[in-house]
């Protein structure tokens, strides 16, 4: 079994991975950039190693430095989390060469599924339905223009090495095509180090449904049912749930089998996700394989009772899957809401800053995977995810109500977050009915502002606190940076010395 894992990530997912390691009796090593010297994941790890300057390219994406660090501290495995190097085949290959276990699929598989264009070809050959579009990377603008003439507008610009919506642009007419491709290339280059993009037909109001799979190194593949991930802003998921309110039992079974077939076609091992688009006529298309643990993995854990991160570690260590398909069943319903440092009143603009106050909720059926603490600084360098709140309930409606109650007790002050927006989204009649599709937010939540009565209540509180505020010179909890700023009346105790 693995003895020591270097977690090549930060934030909530680094902490999630470390917790799984602790439960398996594996030692953990945190790495951190100079911007993360005070980050929460350092408090969880058994040891913490600095690996470079704040920009990710100099720290969390610095393959050479991370691999050398792992060797130096004696880590026999690296868990990449999601994002950063999670799906980077060069990183996986380097680990393979250095004799370090990469907790994920092989570099060869990563290369195949990471190249969306190549993956589309492989799946097409295996008889799996794919979205109409280019099966090669576009070079000059003519390539793209030509593709649109057969596809018709709207089309989607997608990064060949893409993921998480980075580099993605929807184009509704010829005029915007060139700029969209240039912007997509720049974002792709910055996010993945490769600017290859291609075009796909844009499917209107689809459902985004993905299947969780586990595959060991002995050819055993199981799926753990689906996740409905249609609620997105900027092509990025923000609310996910399972089971999908859209799938019938028959369709669920069929898609699950196709997902396993796709995984086998790719020679994939470890935990992975097969993403599908489901159109209005319940036709489904292979979208891509996500070769990592997903942000939204907790909803699968809560409904199936399987710890996906522990399974990742066991599979990476070379163990045979102890679970068979018939062992896996869904119990109840789970919904996740992602809390980002973003301003939902300004088109989800990132909102870095200091968290001046934090009170996280708890209670039956709630799980919080958090990467923040009171007083921590949210820097502008990385993905603005702060934490995830996941509610489990016997039914969708019970899970939904629990999640709303949880969010109403999730006080984060000092920066803008998605908390208030998420509450109103979860209370929207269309969400209540299970009418989720990828443009739900633009269609139903456009121009969102907090409700007037909340503003009124807040104004009353502000007035009361203002009217009663005497002079007091410093900020509590918020800006305390050294012990003596926080320990009051200490001198009473210290005066005897």
């Amino acid at each position: 079994m693995i003895k020591k894992v270097l977690v090549a990530n930060r934030g909530e997912i680094a902490i999630r991975v470390m917790r799984a390691c602790q439960e398996l009796g594996i030692k953990t090593v945190a790495i951190y950039s100079d911007a993360d010297r005070e980050a929460l994941h350092l408090r969880i790890a058994d040891e913490s190693i600095p690996i470079g300057a704040p920009p990710a390219s100099e720290s969390y994406l610095n393959i050479d430095r991370i691999v050398r660090t792992a060797k130096r501290v004696g880590a026999d495995a690296i868990h990449p989390g999601y994002g950063f190097l999670a799906e980077n085949p060069d990183f996986a290959q380097r680990c393979e060469e250095e004799g370090i276990i990469f907790v994920g699929p092989t570099s060869a598989t990563l290369r195949l599924v990471g190249d969306k264009v190549a993956a589309r070809g492989t799946m097409q050959k295996a008889g799996i339905p794919i979205i109409p579009g280019m099966t090669f990377v576009g070079k000059g603008i003519e390539d793209f223009r030509k593709a649109t003439s057969s596809l018709g507008y709207p089309v989607l610009v997608k990064a060949s090495l893409g993921g998480g919506g980075k580099g993605m642009r929807i184009v509704r007419n010829e005029r915007d095509l060139k700029n969209a491709i240039a912007a997509g290339r720049r974002e792709a280059k910055s996010a993945f180090g490769d600017e290859s993009v291609y075009l796909e037909r844009y499917i209107e109001e689809p459902h985004h449904i993905e299947f969780q799979v586990l595959a060991d190194k002995f050819g055993n593949v199981i799926h753990l049912f689906e996740r409905e991930c249609s609620i997105q802003r900027r092509y990025q998921k923000i609310v996910e749930e399972t089971p999908s309110p859209t799938l019938s039992g028959e369709l669920r079974t069929r898609m699950g089998e196709v997902a396993k077939k796709a995984i086998k076609a790719a020679g994939y091992t470890n935990a992975g996700t097969v993403e599908f688009l489901l159109d209005r006529d319940k036709g489904f298309f292979f979208l891509e394989v996500n070769a990592r643990v997903q942000v939204e993995h907790p909803i699968t854990e809560l409904t199936t009772g399987v710890d996906l991160v522990k399974q990742q570690l066991l599979i990476a260590a070379g163990e045979k899957l102890a679970l068979r398909q018939e062992d896996i069943s869904q119990r109840g319903h789970a919904i996740e809401a992602r809390i980002y440092a973003e301003d939902p009143t300004q088109d989800f603009l990132p909102s870095p800053g200091k968290i001046l106050y934090l009170q996280e909720p708890q209670g039956p059926g709630l799980r919080i995977d958090s990467g923040i603490y009171p007083g921590c600084e949210v820097t502008p360098y990385y993905d603005p995810i702060l934490s995830k709140i996941i509610a489990w309930g016997e039914t969708r409606e019970f899970a939904r109500r629990r999640l709303i109650q949880g969010l109403k007790n999730y006080a984060i002050l000092g920066i803008s977050t998605t908390v208030g927006f998420l509450i109103d989204l979860l209370e929207h009649p269309q969400f209540v009915e299970g009418q989720t599709y990828t443009n739900f937010i633009s269609k139903n939540m456009g121009g969102w502002r907090p409700k007037g009565n909340a503003l009124d209540q807040a104004l009353m509180v502000a007035a009361i606190l203002s009217s009663e505020a005497p002079t007091k010179p410093e900020i509590v909890a918020a800006q305390a940076t050294s012990p003596w700023q926080e320990l009051g009346e200490w001198e009473i105790c210290g005066s005897g010395v």
Partner: protein, 168 residues
């Protein structure tokens, strides 16, 4: 007593009269005053009765603003300082309409105009990247570029004017 709070560029008037100990009459704008009682306060968490309804609020102050979380929604309020005392950076950036700034700190990855260029309202002038997201800065007016304060690759702070325009 009247307070004026600024939130997201809007000003709100609140009138408050102390009623008895830990109880107030509060009115928003020209609305009807409501009785608000403080039940408990502890570590930034306050329980009120507003017109008999129990309300839990969290509040903290930092950087001259008070942040309040109530009913799942959070707000940042500044007390209006009065016109005589000049305008804050944010007001300059947004209010005057001829300065283009990034609403958040980040890296200026693309500068699409130079001094002297004529620009249309809504035209993209620059792109700032932060948290791996590109954000386009668009022109608030039809005008001419008078000044460009940064070069591509520079780090910019939130609300720091990047481009100065003159209306046409």
């Amino acid at each position: 007593m009247e307070y004026r709070f600024v939130c997201s560029g809007k000003t709100y008037r609140v009138n408050i009269v102390a009623d008895k100990e830990e109880s107030w009459q509060v009115a928003i704008g020209d609305g009807k005053p409501l009785r608000v009682e403080l039940i408990t306060s502890s570590s930034g968490c306050y329980s009120f009765l507003m017109d008999g309804e129990p309300i839990t609020a969290y509040a903290v102050e930092g950087g001259g603003k008070v942040y309040i979380f109530v009913a799942g929604q959070s707000f940042a309020f500044e007390l209006e300082k009065g016109r005589a005392r000049g305008t804050s950076g944010r007001e300059v950036a947004r209010g005057s309409g001829n300065l283009v700034a990034s609403p958040m700190p980040g890296s200026l990855v693309k500068l699409l105009v130079s001094r002297g260029d004529e620009v249309e309202e809504g035209q993209t002038l620059a792109i700032v990247e932060a948290m791996k997201m590109e954000n386009e800065l668009r022109s608030p007016i039809k005008g001419v570029v008078r000044r460009v304060n940064f070069a591509e690759g520079n780090q910019v702070d939130a609300l720091q004017p990047i481009i100065e325009l003159e209306a046409l």
